[in-house]
Assembly symmetry: C2
Homo-oligomer: 162 residues x 2
């Protein structure tokens, strides 16, 4: 018998390959994330969740609903409430009442928050550039294309508007 396990049971083998890929993807993301979190704390006394909220609001200058923030950051509604509370307490963002719907309010960067985020974001981009430094232009392109389809159903596949 010279048949291989793969030939006999390709499905099971392939399932293991996907599992290994998941572990590698998870650890890669975790490695970068840990490094960024530590640097944000050390250099700017900033947490990653706070940074993420500021980044989302920086992209959407007109402001966002709590539920939009929650969806954009892929975290729970209740989670956003706490982070927004703290950022608002520090004066970096502000909730503004809406005329139409009194359940909701629009969250925006304050001018101070805008300046503050821009300053950090420039450094942050440099860190990412450094941490992903092992990837050249070709690899960055390949990875981006390959990872594209891996997203929640509800995210329509329109082009990014940034």
């Amino acid at each position: 018998m010279v048949t291989t396990a793969t030939a006999l049971d390709p499905g099971e083998e392939f399932s293991k390959a996907r599992l290994r890929l998941w572990i590698r993807l998870y650890r890669a993301a975790r490695f970068i994330e840990t490094e960024l979190r530590e640097r944000l704390r050390r250099e700017f006394d900033m947490t990653l969740p706070r940074f993420d909220v500021l980044a989302a609001l920086y992209r959407q200058r007109d402001g966002m609903l709590m539920s939009e923030l929650s969806r954009a950051l892929m975290v729970s509604n209740g989670n956003v409430t706490g982070i927004v509370d703290r950022l608002a307490g520090e004066g970096l963002i502000a909730r503004t009442r809406r005329n139409g719907d009194r359940r909701t309010s629009i969250v925006r960067l304050t001018p101070e928050g805008f300046r503050y985020f821009r300053r950090i974001a420039a450094v942050h981009e440099g860190w990412v550039d450094e941490l992903l430094g092992v990837f050249g232009p070709r690899e960055v392109e390949q990875l981006s294309q390959l990872l594209k389809p891996l997203k929640p159903e509800h995210e329509t596949d329109r082009e990014d508007q940034t």
Copy 2:
């Protein structure tokens, strides 16, 4: 002038490409992670951190030190303490004293923990297979190779022994 922005300032443009890749990587990992966490909770009343500890101990049947667990899972030392405490309280793992060094103890799966984990792991592997279903054999291979170099310095690049 027919020069492009890329030609004028390739460094800055490329830095943005790496940033976009990081965001895509982060969101991809987060999407899978969220889905797995929810299913583990719903189907097995199990949390992801607990599952990760059990998985690490399943691979290392001889047991691991707290610090080895911490490094393997890329979480802080103090974090591991709490999760191990709870799992030990449930009888799924056990700490055993060491003769040589009284600062440390070896953490192992109990027979019950072993059976319990094996049952969950089989289902878990199916979920990963489904969630990464958009990737065919070629893409899985490409992604695995591309992501390989992205890991902390201290992880030597020996082949996996699993």
